[in-house]
Symmetry: C2
Subunit: 213 residues, 2 copies
């Protein structure tokens, strides 16, 4: 298996986008799709799409296009979405609760298998179908759970500490919702989701509040 040398992150992000629209097309549509069709639907340049796939081998047939089912399956395999991935959630607040209840996660084979918090008023309570666990038990609990992905949905002040516990528990792939830069060993991969940052970028593009006429 020729290990793909170095896949650009933007390629991985687009791969996830292709996967989503292929999931959508899978049953309801014709069974073949061209890179031009993909461009039509996603706005992503057709050459870009073909280049993205080329990091992982050959997927289509010249003159014909791509078999939707096969392409979907192969991208799923690349992104390791074929089997259910257990995910740990830390932070049983409003955001954490929304994430546990978020149906798209389950649809894409992610399953939140445990929720942790440091608040003694929450520990032991239910969050959907999960019993909220004590954050101090994270390391020992994950020895059993065996999750390799985690979501941080705690306030800024707690995020760094939580992240370090996660690493201690063997989790090196972290989705962080706290608006803070986590300082962690270099082999830990962190993806940040920052609502305020997103809104700030939009805010910049707002028309200038023209001074009164």
């Amino acid at each position: 298996m020729p290990l793909s040398p170095k896949v650009p992150t933007p390629t991985l992000e687009r791969l996830a986008t292709y996967y989503t629209i292929l999931s959508d097309l899978k049953s309801r549509q014709a069974d073949t799709i061209s890179s031009a069709d993909i461009e039509e639907r996603t706005g992503i340049n057709a050459a870009q799409f073909r280049k993205d796939l080329s990091y992982f081998g050959e997927f289509g047939r010249p003159g014909v296009g791509y078999a939707i089912d096969e392409l979907h399956a192969r991208i799923g395999r690349i992104l390791k979405l074929e089997k259910t991935q257990p995910v740990i959630l830390v932070g049983a607040g409003n955001l954490g609760s929304a994430l546990v209840g978020y149906p798209a996660l389950r649809a894409d084979n992610f399953r939140i298998v445990a929720a942790f918090d440091n608040n003694y008023n929450k520990i032991g309570k239910q969050l959907w179908d999960l019993t909220i666990r004590d954050i101090t038990r994270l390391v020992e609990d994950n020895a059993t759970l065996g999750a390799r992905l985690a979501i941080i949905a705690v306030p800024v002040g707690a995020a760094q500490d939580v992240a370090e516990r996660l690493v201690e528990a063997g989790i090196k792939n972290i989705l962080n919702f706290a608006p803070v830069v986590l300082r962690l060993p270099r082999d830990v991969i962190v993806r940040n989701v920052d609502f305020v940052q997103e809104l700030a970028v939009l805010s910049f593009h707002l028309p200038d509040p023209t001074t009164n006429p």
Copy 2:
């Protein structure tokens, strides 16, 4: 006012990051900071930081650094965060609810001023301090509200329709949480937040499940 010619999006994203850490430093720290300090705290290259600022003028003093308060204020002005921005939320589900209750939004001067939904069981009910409104009233309601930013937190199937209503209501800056590519006029700016995409990128980086020894 020499209109900044073309600011790269990554620069805007980093500007929001600088803003966040400056908010943090503002009171508790010394009153001056160097680009090297910024690199230390954010992992963003010091030259990158200086270059980012250079799109907007001069901010520091050679040999000294940047006055924290002033820098914070000026970045706030660039991102138009100095006055409270009204934001409309569409989708009063779990995620929408978490967003309304999210303290960091308010801290950065965004205020969700109205929540809309299409579900008659929800319309009229309370969501925190907001009364959930009828999505079909969006255009007329925003004539009064005057929001220019909106958040879409509805299921995939409803997102395109909601987006078009928002544009009709004069809102051209949209934060979209539905995992779908919105097709809108080119002058509309959309930022997508896609949890599943983020997890998929992390999932890719998971160690290969080595076949049994």
